[in-house]
Each structure stands twice: as structure tokens, then as C-alpha cells.
């Protein structure tokens, strides 16, 4: 019984949150990695693109709410998601046409692209803050819990409760569908294959008649979809704050590089690696060990491996270790 209690405790505080957080990171990391693979630069504006997409979704959610439209137990944001995606695609394509295209034609160095993406980062940062403000916004509605701790305890008779929030299930389902569709698109369809070919070897792809403009257009569309979905899921699960989204860029970058930059599947796993290590290393295992060991221990010092303050720092440290020992990433990405 104690063993089951321990497992439930662990899933409640470590496994379920890390799967949720990992899915959100994975969606972001796939976006960054696709831009890196096809357009060949690290996009520092990605976090703010996520914020922009989420902002659009929130605005439409408010609009629907004021019109009295809702999805019942599901959050209204899911209904607003397609509209938000369309606006985000518009913004991405606008910046591609006005900014990135010029440097692409000039064949500028990756550093120039990074600097330009910094400029876009500033602009998007400002736009989001001017339109919706810098404050915390909770836009989650519908039912909050699928399983609440109290119900769980009553039905199973266990000491530990398991809470599953509806946002966690929504995150998991949406991520699964998105990734399933995306990987099928990349691996099965002709356009997806030509995208991968272009990412792999630009010259050869051009020689075999692949239209680069079409590839880049599709990449921006996919990236905007991923950014909006990832951002909205994160916002539903926690809350929306422009500054948090900018900060999330850092673990997303870590996940991208850990998984092997330019490799979508690697980015997917990288997101989970980062999320699991962040949450598992900072969780205080005192109660968990209390259930497993026959005697109760009071020396609490050792049980939490790293203090929760260093949650972000863990992902950065993993990145540094990966950079030293395996710079191409756990799953082989582009050659450095």
C-alpha cells in the first residue's frame, strides 16, 4: 500500500507536471528547430511570437465570451485557437517578407539573422505589451479538474491524492495530435519530404526542382501554428504574462540543442528531457522516501537534490554538459 502511495505521490508532483511542461517545451523546441533547419538561424524572437499568438487567442476568447459563445467544459480558448493561429501566421509572414527575405537573398551570416531576430523580438515584445499590457492574465475557463485529489482519495482509499487538471489532459491530447500530424506531414507527404530535403542539403534540393519560397512559406506557417498552440497551452496551464514567455525561450533553446538542433524528433524528446530533469531534480522527496522506507527519517537536507530556486539553471546546466560532451545533441542534429 505504501508503495502505491509513493507512486501516486510521485506522479502527482513529478510525472504529470513534467509531462505537461515537457509537451509545452517540446512544441516550442520543434518550432525553433524547424526554423533552424530550414531557414538556418536561431530565432530569438520565438518566445515573443508565442506570446503574440497567445495574446491573439486571449483577445478572441474575450470576444467569444462577450458574445456568449463557449465550449462548455472545455476552455473557450480552444475555439479561439484557429483564429489566433491565422493572425500569428500573418505576423510571421509579414516579418519574413519585410525583414528576413532581404537577408536571405543577400546570403547574410547566421549572426546577422540572430541580430535581426533580436530586433523583431523587441518589436513583438512592445506590440504585445502595448496591446494587452504586461500583467498576468488567466484566461482558462470550463472545468478545472478531471480528477481532484479529494475524489481520488475517496474512491481509492489511498492516503495520497492524485490531481489531474483538465489543462494537463488538454495539453497532452493537443500535443499528441499536433506532433502526430506534424511528423506524418514531414515523413509521408511530398511537401514534408521536400522540406526535410531542403533542410538537409539546400543545393541538392534546389537542383531537384524544389521551390525554396514554398518551403519557407510552409515552414513559417507550421512554426506559427506550433508557437500559438504551445503558447496557448502554457497560458491555459499556468497564466499568460509576456515576460514569462520571453523567459521560456531559454529552456526551449536548451531543449532544442539537447535534442540536436535541426532535428524535430530530437527537439520533441529534448523538451521532455529538460522538463523531467527540471522538475525531478528540484522535487523534495522527503514524503516519497517516508513511504518507501520502513523508518521515518528527519534529515531533510539531502532529500531535495537542488533547491527549487535553480529550476531554470538546471536546464542551462544540462545544456552546458551537452555542449561539452556531445555538441551535436543527444539525437544527432546538424553538424556544428
Amino acid at each position: 500500500m505504501d508503495f502505491i502511495n509513493a507512486i501516486i505521490l510521485l506522479s502527482n508532483f513529478v510525472i504529470v507536471p513534467s509531462i505537461t511542461y515537457g509537451s509545452q517545451l517540446a512544441l516550442g523546441a520543434i518550432g525553433v528547430t524547424l526554423i533552424y533547419g530550414v531557414l538556418r538561424f536561431a530565432n530569438f524572437a520565438y518566445g515573443d511570437l508565442m506570446a503574440f499568438g497567445t495574446m491573439c487567442v486571449i483577445l478572441f476568447t474575450w470576444l467569444f465570451k462577450s458574445l456568449g459563445i463557449s465550449l462548455g467544459i472545455l476552455p473557450t480558448a480552444l475555439l479561439a485557437l484557429p483564429l489566433g493561429i491565422i493572425l500569428t501566421i500573418g505576423v510571421s509572414l509579414f516579418f519574413d517578407r519585410t525583414v528576413f527575405k532581404y537577408y536571405r537573398n543577400k546570403k547574410s551570416s547566421p549572426v546577422t539573422f540572430i541580430v535581426v531576430s533580436l530586433g523583431i523580438m523587441f518589436v513583438l515584445n512592445a506590440v504585445v505589451r502595448i496591446i494587452i499590457g504586461p500583467n498576468d492574465i488567466v484566461f482558462m475557463d470550463g472545468s478545472r479538474f478531471i480528477i481532484s485529489a479529494v475524489d481520488f482519495k475517496e474512491t481509492t482509499g489511498l492516503l495520497e491524492g492524485l490531481t489531474i487538471k483538465s489543462t494537463q489532459v488538454i495539453t497532452l491530447i493537443t500535443t499528441s495530435i499536433t506532433c502526430f500530424v506534424l511528423f506524418n506531414f514531414l515523413n509521408k507527404t511530398k511537401t514534408g519530404k521536400s522540406m526535410r530535403a531542403y533542410s538537409n542539403n539546400e543545393d541538392l534540393a534546389l537542383l531537384s526542382g524544389i521551390d525554396p519560397n514554398k518551403i519557407i512559406l510552409i515552414t513559417w506557417i507550421i512554426v506559427s501554428i506550433l508557437a500559438t498552440i504551445g503558447g496557448t497551452l502554457y497560458g491555459l496551464d499556468k497564466s499568460f504574462k509576456p515576460f514569462t514567455y520571453f523567459n521560456n525561450l531559454l529552456p526551449i533553446f536548451a531543449a532544442t540543442i539537447v535534442g540536436g538542433i535541426g532535428n524535430p524528433l530530437g527537439a520533441f524528446y529534448g523538451g521532455f528531457v529538460i522538463a523531467f530533469s527540471e522538475i525531478a531534480l528540484t522535487y523534495a522527496y522527503k514524503k516519497f522516501i517516508f513511504y518507501l522506507l520502513p523508518f521515518s527519517s528527519d534529515s531533510t537536507n539531502l532529500i531535495q537534490y537542488i533547491s527549487t530556486d535553480y529550476k531554470f539553471a538546471i536546464s542551462f546546466a544540462i545544456l552546458v554538459v551537452v555542449l561539452i560532451f556531445r555538441p551535436q545533441g543527444i539525437f544527432k542534429g546538424k553538424v556544428i
Binding site: 538561424f41 536561431a42 525583414v99 532581404y102 551570416s109 547566421p110 549572426v111 546577422t112 540572430i114 541580430v115 535581426v116 533580436l118 530586433g119 523583431i120 523580438m121 523587441f122 518589436v123 513583438l124 515584445n125 512592445a126 506590440v127 505589451r129 502595448i130 499590457g133 504586461p134 520571453f246 531559454l250 533553446f253 536548451a254 540543442i257 537536507n301 539531502l302 537534490y305 537542488i306 533547491s307 530556486d309 535553480y310 531554470f312 539553471a313 536546464s315 542551462f316 546546466a317 545544456l319 552546458v320 555542449l323 561539452i324 560532451f325 555538441p327 556544428i336
Partner: protein, 444 residues
């Protein structure tokens, strides 16, 4: 577009500050000028790395924070009680850490071909973290329990604060050595990302190790290299000086108070200007020396420089350390000027990317350019709010004063600075990618 002359551009900058002084107030003008000077030192540091050596360092925030930490470690008087209760534990765990580091380095070197070398080092590191926590935990708890409202940390050495600028530089250089060893071999975009993330680690350590820096509780009331307003207001000579300057008007208490504030800022201006000029002199000398030419050769063509027998790895590490030292120096200057250390205020947007905008906008590879960039960008950063307010009012003059759109726009005036920075950066990159004052091409 013609290149603007260095002198003209700095004269224009001076006039802009004069206008601020006349229209707003002299206090505002001098505080902008002081932060312009500090920003100029920061962007000079980045310029040395990026402009001269082509190394992309997005870890500016981390080095600034280290410089800020140095001011505390040097200038704050030591908290004797904390040292008594926990000093020994802290020293012991630091020694232990140093021992582990040397052990790992030793294993790495001595058993360079051993099969399980990395696994063993990894195991040692994994076991070290709880061990250090076990050793230092009780002492940290004791230290943080001593007068937590005002102290709760070890304090510093109680030395003059100017000394901390140099200590900040040295500390930054030491950290830069470690970071450079890890990252400098990487491709440019990897270097950018990894330095950004490592600076995140540095800031989170400074933010959360309260025994060292008081963390998010901040350290306030740092010593100043300049006089204090209150002392000035009560001192005979100062009142007399103000009376002499204002011989045409009456000298009231209010005037004394406001002019004491300006006088303090003026003192800072003098100190910062001297510092900047010395750094500029040294940097110009370095750039025009054979060493500077070698750095530019490495930047422009690594392979050719290698073929000429230059040790690229070593030179890049050197310049990475020098640039970071200057950034750390500037970080200490900034905290000295503010008089307080707030670790939670270190955000990449303000302390990394803004400095980068300064360098790119001013002209990378040119010391004068980066200084001008520091001035212009900081000026816009501060003055963008009034400018934006003016533009909003101008563009929406046909709307009523309580129109919701107008009110919302006026409320979000502070964020227009990001917009201006972004648009400015994009425009410069597009139409004048070499910056306002481009690098001088030297021909023989």
C-alpha cells in the same frame, strides 16, 4: 548615406542633453548623462569582443551581475557575527569545492585514456552537490538567521567602493576564462545561445545565494565615491559656492537641495568621464597595435591567421576575458551609481540585448562608435516615453480625452521604448549595417 563625423555626432548628442536640461531639468539631464557614460563602458566591452574579435557574447547580463556582486563583496563592511557563526563552514565548503574541481581536472588529465573517465567525473560531480549542501547548509542557515531584516549575509571587506570596479573586472575575467574554455570553440549561434544561458545560471546563483549577496532581499545604502546630498546641504562651502554661482538671485533652501543633487551627479559625471577616457585611450592603443591588427585578422579570416602561426584559441580566450572584464567593471560602476544591488533586476532584455543594440547601432569595430551607441540608445531608452506621449497626443488629437483607445495608448507609453529599439535596430541593420560610426579601414 554619408558617414557622420565623430565630432559632429558627439556635439549633436551634447546638444540633445542640453535641451533635456533646459526643457526637463538639469537633474534629469545629468542622470541620463551618467548612465550614458556607464552604458558607453558596457558597449565598449562588448565591442572589444564582437567588433574586434567577432565573438558573440550574449552573457553580458551575467558579467554585469558579477560586477555588481563585487561592489558588495568589497565595499560593504563585514558582518562580524555572521563570520563568527558560519564563516568557517563557508570557507570549508569553498575549499571542498576547489578540491573537487582540482580532483576532476586531475582525473581528466591523468587518466585521459581511461574508459570510464567521464562516468567517474560525472559521479563525483553528482555526489558533490549534496555533500556541499550538507557541509554548508547549517552555516548558511546560521548566517541567514542573523539580523535577517538588514543583514543575514557575510557582508564584504569594507574597502573603498572604487576598488570594487577593478575587483569586478577581475572576477568577470575569471568567470569568462571558464566560460571561454567551455564555449569558445562553438559556432557563432551556439556561442550566442550558450553564453545567454550561462549568464542565466550566474544571475540565478547571485539571486538565490542569500548568504553571499542577500539575494532578492537586495543590498541598499552602498558607499559612494561622491559626497552625500545631506552633508552638502549642511556644509558652509557648498552654500557659499551656490550663492556665488547664483549671484543674481536669492538662494533658498529648495535651491540648495536641488543643486546638491545636481552637484552629486556632477561628481559622478567627472569620475565616470575620466574612467571612460582612460578606457578609450587604452582601447584605442590596443586596437592600433600589432595585437589589434592580429585580432582583426583572426576575425576576418581565421584560417589565414592560423596559417600565419597565430594561436587563435588562446587569442580569442584572451580577448573574451578582456571584454568581459570591462563589462564587469561597468557592472560595478552601475551598482555604485545606483547605490543599491538588486539581483532580481538583471533581465536579458535590459542588460544583454540593449547593450547589443548600442554596439550594433553605434558601429561595431569602432570605439567611438560604441560610445556613441551607448549615448544614443540610452538617451532614446529614457526619452522615448515623453516622445511617445507627444506622438500619441499628436496622432490622436481628434479623439476626446477619455477615449478608451487613447487612454490605453497613454497607459502603455513605457513600452514604446522596446518598439523604438526594435525598429531602430532593424532599420540600422537594413540601411546602415556598419552602424552610425563605421569601423575605420586602415590602409598602408
Amino acid at each position: 548615406m554619408h558617414n557622420i563625423d565623430t565630432k559632429t555626432s558627439f556635439t549633436i548628442m551634447g546638444f540633445l542633453l542640453l535641451i533635456v536640461g533646459i526643457l526637463q531639468s538639469w537633474g534629469v539631464a545629468f542622470s541620463i548623462l551618467n548612465l550614458c557614460l556607464i552604458s558607453a563602458v558596457m558597449s565598449m566591452g562588448v565591442n572589444i569582443q564582437w567588433g574586434f574579435a567577432g565573438l558573440i557574447n550574449f552573457g553580458v547580463m551575467g558579467f554585469l551581475a558579477i560586477g555588481g556582486l563585487a561592489t558588495i563583496l568589497v565595499s560593504v563592511p563585514p558582518v562580524i557575527e555572521s563570520w563568527n557563526v558560519g564563516g568557517l563552514g563557508i570557507i570549508f565548503s569553498l575549499l571542498f569545492l576547489i578540491f573537487i574541481i582540482f580532483l576532476c581536472l586531475f582525473i581528466n588529465k591523468r587518466f585521459s585514456n581511461a574508459k570510464y573517465k567521464y562516468q567517474i567525473i560525472f559521479l563525483i560531480v553528482v555526489l558533490t552537490i549534496p555533500a556541499v549542501k550538507l557541509i554548508s547548509g547549517p552555516s548558511i542557515k546560521l548566517i541567514e538567521s542573523i539580523n535577517p531584516a538588514a543583514q543575514g549575509y557575510l557582508g564584504g571587506l569594507g574597502l573603498p567602493i572604487i576598488l570594487s570596479w577593478f575587483v569586478g573586472g577581475i572576477m568577470s575575467a575569471a568567470i569568462a576564462y571558464v566560460i571561454g574554455k567551455i564555449c569558445l570553440g562553438l559556432r557563432s549561434d551556439y556561442l550566442a545561445i550558450s553564453t545567454l544561458l550561462i549568464s542565466g545560471i550566474i544571475v540565478s546563483v547571485i539571486k538565490h545565494e542569500e548568504w553571499l549577496s542577500r539575494g532578492v532581499k537586495n543590498v541598499i545604502g552602498l558607499k559612494r565615491p561622491a559626497p552625500y546630498e545631506v552633508n552638502l546641504q549642511n556644509s558652509e562651502w557648498f552654500i557659499k559656492m551656490i550663492e556665488t554661482i547664483r549671484f543674481w538671485g536669492p538662494t533658498t533652501k529648495d535651491i540648495i537641495i536641488s543643486s546638491s543633487g545636481i552637484f552629486v551627479k556632477l561628481c559622478f559625471t567627472v569620475i565616470f568621464s575620466i574612467t571612460l577616457l582612460i578606457l578609450l585611450y587604452l582601447s584605442e592603443r590596443a586596437v592600433n597595435s600589432p595585437w589589434g591588427r592580429m585580432m582583426r585578422a583572426i576575425r576576418d579570416n581565421e584560417t589565414a591567421a592560423k596559417a600565419m602561426g597565430k594561436n587563435i584559441v588562446k587569442q580569442q580566450l584572451n580577448i573574451f576575458m578582456i571584454g568581459s572584464a570591462i563589462i564587469g567593471f561597468a557592472g560595478a560602476m552601475l551598482v555604485t551609481y545606483d547605490g543599491l544591488f538588486t539581483p532580481s533586476s538583471y533581465q536579458p532584455l535590459r542588460y544583454t540585448f540593449l547593450i547589443w543594440v548600442m554596439v550594433l547601432l553605434g558601429g561595431s569595430g569602432n570605439n567611438y562608435g560604441s560610445i556613441l551607441g551607448g549615448f544614443v540608445v540610452w538617451f532614446i531608452w529614457i526619452e522615448s516615453a515623453p516622445i511617445a506621449l507627444f506622438i500619441i497626443n499628436f496622432c490622436t488629437f481628434f479623439l476626446e480625452y477619455n477615449n478608451p483607445i487613447k487612454l490605453h495608448l497613454i497607459e502603455s507609453v513605457p513600452y514604446f521604448r522596446y518598439l523604438m529599439m526594435g525598429v531602430g535596430l532593424l532599420l540600422v541593420m537594413r540601411y546602415k549595417p556598419e552602424g552610425l560610426l563605421p569601423e575605420k579601414k586602415i590602409s598602408f
